[in-house]
């Protein structure tokens, strides 16, 4: 079949099978909840779990595929990488978070439906090859999350979080859309491939709208990835949201936005690298500096992790700054390690909250006495985020830094390394509480549920495994990045990055 311009359209719906499964599952969860009371409370998580598994199995058939659906969606290893990542996040959240959702969330079934639906949006953000599809993906993800953030039961903060998130998120979406329309005006197409071609051509007289459009796009995406100075919503949303949603925000939502960053800035916008590279470098720097500094003052563990994930986002934006196949691969590696680590941390904290109902850092005092296992998981997670050896964070961060150095932005790495050092200090605040202080009040041992052990145990093992033998992760990240840069753009990246590198060098020397 062809469209009215005569382009061949591939309408093989099978390519979208994982997303279709997820969407159907989402509807199923809601309908079950509404119309079949006998199903009981356990049905929603179970259906969600099975849906995710089925979507994962369906994704497996697309490994190494190079295809597109109706010129709108790319099915390649990059897409597959993120499909697996987002589906994996969902599975872990269901296993590790169902008790929490049962107790502390209004309308559990809606939570699960939104979880599935937002995963569909996230996957489309990673797989889109057309600005409109990407924008729809963003909105599907965002709208699901606007609701999910305010689902907390008996928590006044949930409303504040939801409202703040929806207002600021709406502004960000509007900015993004405006930026995209300007970009469309400049390039004359919403297709990634056509945009790249148009931006390589003659841009006389179009430079101003392009810069304006890029600024708006970077700002809009900056909101979504909670980069400084567009981060204000993140700490409140993280704090007010139910914990599994917080975990989701820090993992899938952030991952999907970074996927979009890579798709856009490594593809259609790559020819304009000279115009946006400095913006990205500035934002990355601000994010790393302020994310880490503000984290130092936090006393709520969710806020602490919010700022820590802001700072981690800054590290990853460095790799967007120097975008190339190497740094894209490094970003994916770091993102993978970060998602595993952050999930482990959040699930451990969810288990802690299930038992104690507390979330201040000082509430963790003496956890090494009362539940040594959770203390180990949290310690491993925090140390991994800080980049301590033998845990996932060490090599992933190292690979990321190395890629950025190779990209010619040594001064960014200097900032990152210093920021990373600072970060260890606030991570230690929690570890100190757990190991050095005595438990307050009840000092008896307690245990977590079997599913809690499974979820945290798998993630803990993954942290250690990636830290010692991360080759599988590097391989898949490399293949995903290769799919992104397959063909001409790599050469274009080299050509455009080269003039930028000497410009960065003298600056670095001054540090």
């Amino acid at each position: 079949m062809t469209d009215f311009l005569g382009n061949h359209l591939n309408l093989n719906v099978g390519l979208l099978l994982p997303e279709i499964i997820l969407a159907v599952g989402s509807v199923l969860v809601v309908f079950l909840d509404m119309f079949w009371e006998k199903a009981g409370r356990g049905s929603a998580p179970l259906v969600t779990f099975l849906t995710l598994i089925a979507a994962g199995v369906a994704s497996a058939s697309d490994i190494d595929a190079v295809d597109d659906f109706a010129r709108m969606v790319s099915i390649d290893n990059f897409t597959t990488f993120f499909r697996f990542m987002f589906i994996g996040v969902g599975i872990m959240l269901v296993i590790g978070g169902w008790e929490y959702v049962d107790k502390h969330v209004n309308h559990p079934a809606e939570f699960y439906a939104l979880l599935l639906l937002s995963t569909v949006g996230a996957i489309f953000m990673a797989s889109a090859r057309d600005l409109l599809i990407a924008y729809l993906g963003i909105e599907v993800l965002s709208f699901s999350l606007y609701i999910a953030v305010s689902l907390g039961k008996n928590d006044n903060r949930a409303g504040e979080a939801g409202l703040k998130y929806v207002l600021l998120g709406g502004v960000a979406s509007a900015m993004l859309l405006y930026g995209l329309s300007l970009l469309y005006g400049v390039a004359g197409s919403t297709q990634y491939g056509d945009i790249a071609g148009a931006l390589q051509g003659d841009l006389t007289g179009l430079h101003m709208p392009l810069i304006l459009g890029l600024t708006l796009i970077v700002s809009g995406l900056g909101f979504k990835v909670s980069a400084v100075p567009f981060h204000m919503w993140a700490p409140d949303a993280y704090e007010g949201a139910p914990m599994p949603v917080t975990a989701y925000l820090s993992a899938t939502s952030k991952g999907a936005t970074l996927a979009l960053f890579l798709r856009w800035f490594g593809g259609p916008l790559l020819p304009a690298i000279g115009d946006w590279q400095w913006m990205m470098a500035v934002i990355a720097t601000l994010t790393m500096v302020f994310g880490n500094l503000i984290a130092l003052q936090q006393h709520n563990v969710k806020r602490l992790l919010a700022y820590s994930s802001i700072a981690q986002g800054g590290f990853m934006l460095m790799a967007v700054t120097t975008v190339s196949d190497i740094s894209a691969s490094a970003l994916l590696v770091h993102l993978g390690g970060y998602v595993i680590t952050n999930l482990a941390l959040f699930l451990a904290i969810i288990q802690f909250y299930n038992r104690t109902g507390k979330e201040e850092i000082t509430d963790f005092a003496g956890l090494s006495r009362t539940n040594p296992y959770l203390a180990v998981v949290i310690t491993a997670g925090l140390f991994s985020l800080a980049g301590m050896p033998l845990l996932a964070g060490f090599f992933t961060k190292f690979i990321l830094f190395q890629a950025v150095v190779q990209g010619g932005f040594l001064w960014l790495v200097v900032v990152a390394v210093v920021g990373s050092t600072v970060s260890l200090f606030y991570y230690l605040q929690v570890i100190r509480q757990m190991y050095i202080y005595e438990p307050v009040g009840d000092a008896s041992r307690w245990t977590i549920s079997g599913s809690g052990y499974i979820a945290t145990g798998v993630l803990l093992a993954a942290i250690v495994f990636v830290g010692i033998q991360g080759a599988p992760l590097y391989t898949v990240a490399d293949r995903a990045a290769f799919a992104l840069f397959d063909g001409a753009p790599v050469a274009a990246a080299a050509g455009h990055a080269a003039p930028a590198a000497p410009a960065a060098a003298p600056k670095a020397g001054g540090h």
Binding site: L410, Y474, T475
Partner: protein, 490 residues
């Protein structure tokens, strides 16, 4: 063989962690067995080490992350040469000693010994690694047990000291990582041997910056003025065994790093910076010694004397010749044994008196002659009495640095005079003087673990002092290629 040395302690650590709660006092036996086995391995390595063969020996390597996996490669490579072999031996010995002096640890014993053993593995990794990233990995890894040991089993302001230690070291190592990344990205390899053979001469940033970024981490660890202030706090508040390890082997990581990495990888920049290094060294020696004279806390006194004595290492390095470097390498070994012994003795005294205030002690020699005698031996070795190991090392260092840096060397020699002052003064105040009633009840150190710990270190100090070739053959073999590089630049 070396991998075995690396794995033995950590295996012991894991085993001891899995001890049932009620049997946790058996952790010390596990620790003793595993650190003893590691020590045996280190002795074998040192004995089989062939000084006439150039290059690294007992090399054990495999591809950790293959190039085909991720577009770059990291190798796991361990090996020893004449520079690291003595340090490995020292590490093996001091680990056993530190387990022995911890024999009475009761609180959370299994975690304590697990961390202690884990630290041995981490430090061993630093001495054995022949790949920059692997080196950095172990360098960072060592912080963890150190922080935990000081903050949980220390005394006084233990949390403050542990955090201070952590921040200083981390700040240093952060810059080291930047330096490594620049070197690695420029040369396309992180292999120390390859980088030594073909030093990087051009990079995206001035190599002087890279040199100082890397040096900073080592200078903090050494430590040298003005980044030494974490050391007295860490030592004072650490448990005895940790002080022994800290002074004995952890500080050597700094000196080792300078000689193994900073110098041969960036010889030109090192050569250009030699005057600064010599000035820092000379000033550290004097400054450390002067401050030592003013200490009233016995442990703090030994800690500050470390600052002064590690200044000799930097002095020897700054001469950048074979004699100076050999002196520095030997000083590292001998300082490890001597100061290790001093901390053992101070720990034994503190166990009994429960005070470290020098002014409160008097005539301890009457009450505990064994401890007193060992204290005197360690003190004399520390001030460089001929016939003991300290003399050999200091003499070599001075001979090596005299031509290159006469003023700094003069400062160093004057430091020896000062150290004679504070050592003898301390011995006089603590051990001699009237035998007061307050210390009537003190018992001497006669338990087997105390005696073994002291005797082994005294034996090594005397053996090296009387027959230095035990050490010098290996050290010179290790230093020769590095000295050759350094003498090649001008």
């Amino acid at each position: 063989m070396l991998t075995l040395f690396l794995l033995l302690p950590v295996t012991g650590a894991v085993l001891s962690l899995f001890l049932p709660e009620e049997k946790q006092h058996d952790a010390k036996w596990i620790a003793l067995v595993f650190s003893g086995a590691a020590f045996a391995v280190s002795v074998v390595v040192f004995a089989l080490f062939n000084a006439s063969v150039p290059g690294y020996q007992f090399v054990n390597t495999f591809e950790w992350i293959a190039a085909s996996d991720a577009g770059f490669r990291i190798r796991y490579t361990v090996g020893v040469d004449g520079l690291s072999a003595p340090l490995v031996l020292l590490l093996g010995l001091l680990s056993v000693v530190s387990v022995l002096v911890s024999w009475r640890i009761e609180v959370k014993a299994k975690q304590y010994f697990a961390w202690l053993l884990f630290m041995e593995t981490a430090v061993a990794g630093v001495f054995l690694s022949l790949d920059l990233i692997q080196f950095f990995l172990f360098w960072e890894l060592e912080l963890l047990p150190m922080f935990m040991l000081i903050s949980q089993w220390g005394s006084g302001r233990r949390l403050y000291s542990a955090t201070k230690f952590l921040i200083y070291t981390l700040a240093g190592s952060a810059f080291m990582l930047v330096g490594f990344l620049v070197l690695g990205a420029t040369a396309g390899t992180f292999d120390i041997a390859e980088l030594t053979a073909k030093p990087v001469t051009q990079a995206v940033v001035p190599l002087t910056f890279v040199f100082w970024a890397i040096m900073l981490a080592f200078l903090v660890k050494l430590p040298t003025f003005p980044v030494h202030t974490w050391l007295p706090d860490a030592h004072t508040d650490a448990p005895t065994a940790v002080s022994v390890m800290l002074a004995g082997v952890l500080l050597k990581m700094g000196g080792y790093g300078i000689i193994r990495i900073a110098l041969p990888l960036l010889p030109q920049q090192a050569h250009d910076s030699r005057l600064i290094l010599a000035s820092l060294a000379g000033f550290s020696v004097l400054w450390g010694a002067v401050i030592t004279l003013r200490q009233t806390d016995l442990k703090r006194l030994v800690a500050y004397s470390s600052v002064s004595h590690m200044g000799y290492v930097l002095l020897g390095v700054s001469a950048m010749g074979s004699l100076g470097l050999s002196g520095a390498a030997m000083q590292m070994f001998t300082h490890g044994t001597i100061t290790g012994l001093l901390f053992v003795v101070v720990g034994l005294i503190y166990d009994r008196t429960h005070t470290r205030e020098i002014s409160q002690m008097s005539g301890l020699m009457h009450r505990m002659p064994v401890v007193g005698t060992v204290f005197v031996i360690a003190g004399l070795a520390s001030l460089g009495l001929p016939g003991m190991s300290g003399f050999v090392a200091e003499m070599t260092t001075f001979l090596g640095s005299l031509d290159a840096h006469p003023v700094a060397t003069a400062a160093g020699i004057f430091g020896v005079v000062l150290s004679a002052g504070y050592i003898l003064w301390t011995v006089q105040r603590v051990l001699h003087g009237p035998a007061t009633d307050r210390w009537k009840e003190l018992t001497d150190a006669t338990s087997w673990w105390e005696v073994t710990a002291m005797a082994s270190l005294v034996f090594v100090i005397l053996a090296v002092g009387i027959y230095p070739a035990l050490l010098t053959t290996a050290v010179q073999a290790g230093i020769a290629p590095i000295a050759q590089i350094m003498e090649g630049v001008s």
